[in-house]
């Protein structure tokens, strides 16, 4: 029994595939921020991301598309129907035979169920819907990655995370596994847990998705960023969420 449990633990650590010593060593980007930025995130009346969540609530209740249906027409009260949903994304999509992100899931409902024109990546409306849905899971632990069909995609994401890229020839792991907590110029390197997305980033003065954040990191090492909605982004997000399993969701996070 004990043997079984420890081999299960070993499997989980292998799955997470990181140099982090244990769960207790895992820290959200929140923990690396200054007290003022932390206070801004923690207080809903000061958190600029809450405006986007409120926009999302409006959109949730507004009929759209040829079907003239709102999200609420099918899903009812998001506080119940969407509670916990974001903790399981990216999740396996039977039709695509591949994982899809929460944004892609929302876009699917918009196309297939509302028959409405697609929302652009990084558009305020998509960020707002995504923030509203994810906000319903605030405080709940990340559960992504439990579905065995996801395993090859998680492996692919880990591969992307550990491969060196760009003119500066860095992997994500070089910074986020080997050097988290240290100072890269003016910024403290976090462990890269995607628990607050979409976030309000002070540097952007705007909401942004995880994909936008990752594209920033790739541009930083002078690599060609992956396109929005690309399989590479989904695989990286899947790997990161699996690696963050157990940490609470924070949406909307505030980041420097």
């Amino acid at each position: 029994m004990t043997v079984r449990r420890s081999s299960l633990a070993a499997a989980v650590i292998l799955l997470a595939g990181t140099a982090l010593a244990s769960d207790t060593d895992r820290r959200s980007g929140f923990d690396f921020m200054g007290p003022q930025t932390q206070a801004m995130q923690a207080d809903d009346t000061a958190n600029p991301g809450m405006l986007s969540v409120l926009d999302g609530e409006d959109l949730w209740n507004t009929p759209a598309g040829a079907a003239n249906r709102s999200c609420a027409d099918c899903h009812g009260d998001a506080a119940t129907s969407m509670r916990g949903v974001a903790t399981r994304y990216p999740s396996y999509d039977e039709k695509a035979k591949a994982p899809i992100t929460l944004d892609q899931r929302i876009l699917q409902c918009r196309a297939d169920r509302q028959e409405a024109p697609p929302l652009a990546w990084e558009s305020p409306d998509l960020l707002a819907l995504s923030a509203y849905v994810a906000h319903q899971s605030r405080g709940l632990p990340v559960e992504t990655g439990a579905d065995p069909q996801l395993t090859p995609f998680i492996d692919q994401g880990r591969e992307l995370f550990t491969q060196r890229q760009g003119q500066l020839d860095f992997s994500c792991a070089d910074c986020h596994d080997a050097n988290w907590g240290k100072r890269l110029g003016g910024a403290v390197i976090p462990q890269a847990h995607p628990t607050g997305y979409p976030i309000y980033r002070l540097e952007w003065q705007a909401m942004g998705s995880l994909q936008r954040r990752l594209r920033n990191c790739m541009a930083g090492v002078r690599a060609e960023p992956y396109g929005f909605g690309s399989p590479e982004h989904t695989e990286l997000e899947l790997f990161l969420m699996t690696r963050a399993r157990g940490l609470p969701l924070e949406t909307p996070g505030v980041r420097p």
């Binding site: 760009g166 020839d169 890269l184 003016g186 690599a223 060609e224």
Partner: protein, 145 residues
């Protein structure tokens, strides 16, 4: 027949940055000979080291640059590097730190081979030119304490 000096310099630069010539320039843990015809200029070197667009050094290093608010702590301080290392040792550490230690995070500033997914603007270009590296070497050599 006289070859124009600019062509000679161009040929020299091409020879210097190709891999075999690169390896031949390494003596022990140093690269004793200059990479460019002209000697480096320490003042230009200081500007490169403190620039977040060209040198990027202060992303990782700190050093005696009181006017620079944001300095990294991923790497040893550059203070005193001119008395710890010879010019040739400094040159090799900038040109090809990864060649010395494949596990280091310090980028190889003169190499363009073995890179993956480089953004179009930077493709095929080293992070610093041979001349810029000479400027940086000349500057670091002045950091005696």
């Amino acid at each position: 027949m006289r070859v124009p000096p600019s062509l000679i310099t161009l040929a020299l630069v091409l020879v210097l940055v190709t891999a075999p010539a690169f390896a031949e320039r390494i003596v022990g843990d140093a690269m004793p000979d200059r990479l460019a015809a002209a000697p480096g200029d320490p003042e230009r070197g200081r500007a490169i080291v403190t620039s977040r667009q060209t040198g990027l050094c202060l992303l990782c290093h700190s050093g005696p640059f009181p006017e620079e608010r944001f300095q990294g702590d991923l790497a040893p301080s550059l203070a005193g590097v001119g008395s710890r290392l010879s010019e040739g040792q400094i040159r090799l550490r900038i040109a090809d730190a990864r060649g010395l230690d494949p596990d280091t995070i310090m980028p190889s500033y003169l190499r363009t081979d073995g890179l993956d997914r480089v953004a179009e603007t930077w493709r095929g270009k080293p992070i610093l030119s041979a001349g810029e590296i000479e400027d940086v070497v000349a500057f670091l050599a002045t950091l005696k304490d």
